[in-house]
Symmetry: C2
Subunit: 233 residues, 2 copies
DNA sequence: TCAAAAGTGTTCTTGATACACCCATGC
DNA sequence: GCATGGGTGTATCAAGAACACTTTTGA
């Protein structure tokens, strides 16, 4: 089947930058999920999951579909990032790509879950391999967006397990923003928003005092948000 | 001339939301430039300036080109906003549109300057006519972006003449953010950044005390910006 | 001389920062 | 019993908010 147009059209793709946060390591890291390409161009190179937009789906749907098809990940936070359209960004011909950012809880999305998961891997964002196309730029743009967004919207919680400790939350912010926070001041601030609920559970297992577990009160956040509330860190 | 593809592709367009600020009126207003369509679909309706992306130009270049072709405006601040891709947003067939926001100095861009200027008009953003396609949504998204951006980046100056008074600057911020500022606190804050230079000129003509004119020190801003400086209002 | 906007400082309140010790747990 | 991270309060400082009068100009 083939199609004819009066004027040539760029191909239209979506690509996803997927961020995960590993708080279990010695030094916690923000990571991105990449796919090893098994077809040309850039065969054998790492790239962001993505693919072409179909004629009857929205861009959001295309991003969600590619995310699921290539990594098995679904039902996660995802938002449009930026559209990349340099004429030479794809050697096959003009391809414009609408990039998305997804935030996932690493624990829920260990690999081997996805269809093509054998060729997928998480990389720390400052130890990325060489990436196909202009994907290095896409990741860089996504990191900037994440850093900007995390400061005035509570998106960071998307990167944590449903239940988390205050130290984990602090580590997350410190990792993303590349700075440190004073423990007491951080807790005071977070406390002030009244957006965390003690679950009653405790995180134990390490040779130190057990830590209380919390979950994010997204209902309350949505209610506050409507009244012009500002989360700011 | 016609072109054949194996898979159908959406058409790719750019659209521009152009903001101007009229500070001469009784109640100052943020305005948007619209074009009256003289071809189907939506013939006779107002729409944002825009058109299809050519195969050899970047998205930024396409937006700048359409801006110039349809309104005569060039060399202004312009940035990518968001990409709209609902499958039914264009009755002619699947068309994805990369929207841009431009900020212009109204005084420099009175109409009749552009090629098709006879069919262009400025509308206050809260008295927009019915717009073609999903352009109402595009404008709404642009306003939100402007409101967010103006608070932590000095983009507002793009909307003013090169020389402006502090009252004009304050009116601009009050109009965009839909709030008022205390005159003394506002001036103190702006002063604190050291980003305004007195030009020596005065704005006179009204039956009240003449006002000093300033210009924005963009060199100094760029220098500060590199060292992690934050403009915040 | 009047109306209208320009210009200018101080006080108070609030939020941000700095800082150090005891507690519970697993080994 | 010790090493490790969890948990807590106060004092200081800086920035934001509130607030009113004098000056200059054109008509």
């Amino acid at each position: 089947m083939s199609f004819t147009y009066k004027y040539p059209r760029p191909a239209l793709a979506v690509d996803c930058v997927i961020f995960g946060f590993d708080h279990t390591q010695e030094t916690p890291e923000l990571q991105t999920l990449c796919i090893e390409r098994n077809i040309a161009p850039f065969k054998g190179k790492w790239a962001l999951p993505g693919g072409f937009v179909q004629m009857d789906e929205t861009l959001d749907a295309a991003a969600a579909r590619e995310l699921k098809e290539e990594t098995g990940i679904e039902n996660v936070y995802i938002e449009q990032l930026y559209t990349f359209g340099a004429p030479d960004r794809d050697p096959r011909g003009r391809t414009v790509s609408v990039a998305y950012v997804a935030l996932v809880n690493l624990e829920k999305h260990h690999l081997d879950a996805g269809t093509d998961a054998k060729s997928a891997a998480w990389f720390p964002i400052n130890k990325l391999p060489a990436l196909a196309f202009d994907h290095k730029l896409v990741v860089k743009t996504a990191i900037e967006r994440l850093r900007g967004k995390v400061r005035y919207q509570p998106v960071g919680f998307e990167l944590l397990p449903d239940e988390f400790t205050l130290s984990e939350l602090q580590m997350l912010y410190e990792t993303i923003l590349e700075r440190t926070f004073d423990k007491r001041n951080f807790r005071k601030k977070i406390d002030g928003y009244g957006l965390l609920i003690e679950t009653g559970g405790m995180r134990r297992g390490k040779p130190n005092r057990a830590a209380k577990l919390y979950r994010f009160d997204s209902k309350r956040y949505k209610a506050l948000e409507k009244h012009g509330f500002l989360f700011e860190l």
